[in-house]
């Protein structure tokens, strides 16, 4: 969890390929304003994120813009894995495994700004391929990312970033093998002159 200032660029690198990076964004000054999958896909008319996508908040305001993307497609619908959804999706005895929602909750508890599970809307899965078929099906398809691919987002407001590098061990989309990512902020292009 960390803050990216307006004008700074957040780069996320998929170091080994096809790693799901579960990510949420909040207005750093008012965390009740956060990334909204629904506002974002409504405005751009499509469900995948790539270069040019503007991430909108639940209040309809631009938060970040994807300015570079060497993967080509990022998921807005799959959400975060959780102990509870693992029991439904895989087996009742899969409850006791690491999950993104648990990681989110621990980060929010440590952050100590009064945030809680109430503040967990549907997240982005960077580098994850979750196609919707014309018949209305939803698949977790083989990834289209690869080692070294990255996405860069320019912050359009001061943004609190919450990331869980997905620890899911039950899904073939990451070859059952969660791998590291690199996260960095670059530049400070508009802050000084703004």
């Amino acid at each position: 969890m960390g803050v990216v200032r307006r004008g700074q660029v957040l780069r996320i690198v998929d170091l080994e390929g096809n790693q799901a990076v579960d990510t949420l964004f909040y207005n750093a000054d008012d965390t009740h304003e956060h990334y909204s999958a629904q506002n974002t896909i409504q405005a751009q008319g499509r469900i995948y994120l790539t270069t040019g996508s503007v991430l909108l908040s639940n209040r309809g305001r631009p938060m970040l813009r994807i300015d570079d993307d060497t993967c080509g497609r990022h998921d807005t619908l799959g959400g975060a894995c959780s102990s509870e959804s693992n029991t439904v999706r895989y087996a009742l005895e899969k409850r006791h495994m690491h999950s993104c929602r648990d990681s989110f909750l621990l980060a929010l508890a440590r952050h100590d700004h009064g945030m809680s599970k109430r503040d967990l809307p549907s997240n982005i899965n960077f580098f994850m391929n979750v196609p919707v078929t014309p018949e209305g099906g939803l698949r977790f398809a083989d990834g289209i990312s690869a080692a070294g691919r990255h996405v860069e987002l320019t912050a359009l407001m001061d943004t609190l970033v919450l990331i869980s590098n997905c620890p899911q061990l039950n899904n073939p989309c990451n070859a059952y093998n969660p791998t590291p990512i690199r996260v960095m902020t670059l530049g400070d292009l508009t802050r000084e002159s703004a």
């Binding site: 029991t87 439904v88 919707v132 078929t133």
Partner: protein, 242 residues
């Protein structure tokens, strides 16, 4: 699509939501809510929260992932974020309900239909989906932190290979219905308003009739329980909780 066979019991009560207005209430485990479209092209935005602990709420992603679907119809269930089932779609004569597209907001309503003010329009003032849900949430001590992705009943949105979304105009017809069976005591929020991808420029949202009946518990061969192994486990989680 034909309705799944199920036991029809006498009405407990019925009510209407005029087009453009919103409603909320508590529906207990063991009742059904049938939504009946009163005109073509209806759209009913819906959100569900556990009555016992509203922090447990409908979760779009978990609903889609568990059932490998991007639309809801007979056999589908609405999952909470806790791996449990808030309600099940036990019958549906419309065939496709949109879980992806979210709500209209004040800006999108004004841009499409023109700005309205109570001062001139009185009760005909256009209310957006987001405003409608915030009002109803407030009645339970909830607020925008609790406003998660909703379902749009009666709306069909298809996605092509590039990810582009297209709403199918004319999908819902007057008289079509969808019936939900509640598996937990649930706070239900509804808004009969335009779908966010509706490209029409005339504001004339359809109303909807609510019919509430008692329902027998889901049987071993229940259409929702047997849809997929995931749903069988979802029912086990729900029944353990209760």
């Amino acid at each position: 699509m034909t309705a799944a066979p199920h036991v029809v019991t006498p009405l407990l009560w019925e009510d209407g939501i005029p087009g453009g207005t919103h409603w909320s209430g508590v529906l207990r485990r063991g009742v059904t809510l049938r939504l009946v479209a009163l005109a073509d092209d209806a759209n009913v935005a819906a959100l569900f929260y556990s009555r016992e602990q509203p922090l447990e709420r409908y979760n779009m992603a978990d609903t889609l992932k568990a059932q490998h679907t991007a639309h809801l119809t007979t056999g589908c269930v609405c999952y909470s974020d806790m791996g449990r089932i808030l309600c099940s779609v036990i019958a549906d004569t419309c065939g496709w309900h949109d879980p992806l597209c979210g709500l209209t907001d004040a800006q999108s309503i004004a841009a499409r239909y023109g700005a309205t003010r109570f001062q001139e329009e009185r009760n005909s003032r256009y209310v957006s989906g987001r405003e409608a849900m915030l009002v109803e949430l407030g009645k339970y001590g909830l607020n925008e932190r609790d406003l998660v992705a909703n379902i749009n009943f009666f709306s069909k949105v298809v996605v092509d290979d590039s990810g582009a979304m297209r709403r199918i105009a004319g999908h819902a017809r007057a008289g079509q219905s969808v019936e939900l069976r509640f598996e937990m005591d649930t706070i239900v929020l509804l808004h009969a308003g335009p779908h966010p991808l509706d490209t029409g420029t005339r504001y004339a949202p359809a109303g909807v009739r609510l019919e509430v009946r008692r329902a027998p518990p889901p049987a071993a061969d229940d259409v929702c329980r047997v849809r997929c192994p995931e749903n069988a486990r979802g029912f086990i989680n729900t029944e353990r909780h209760l």
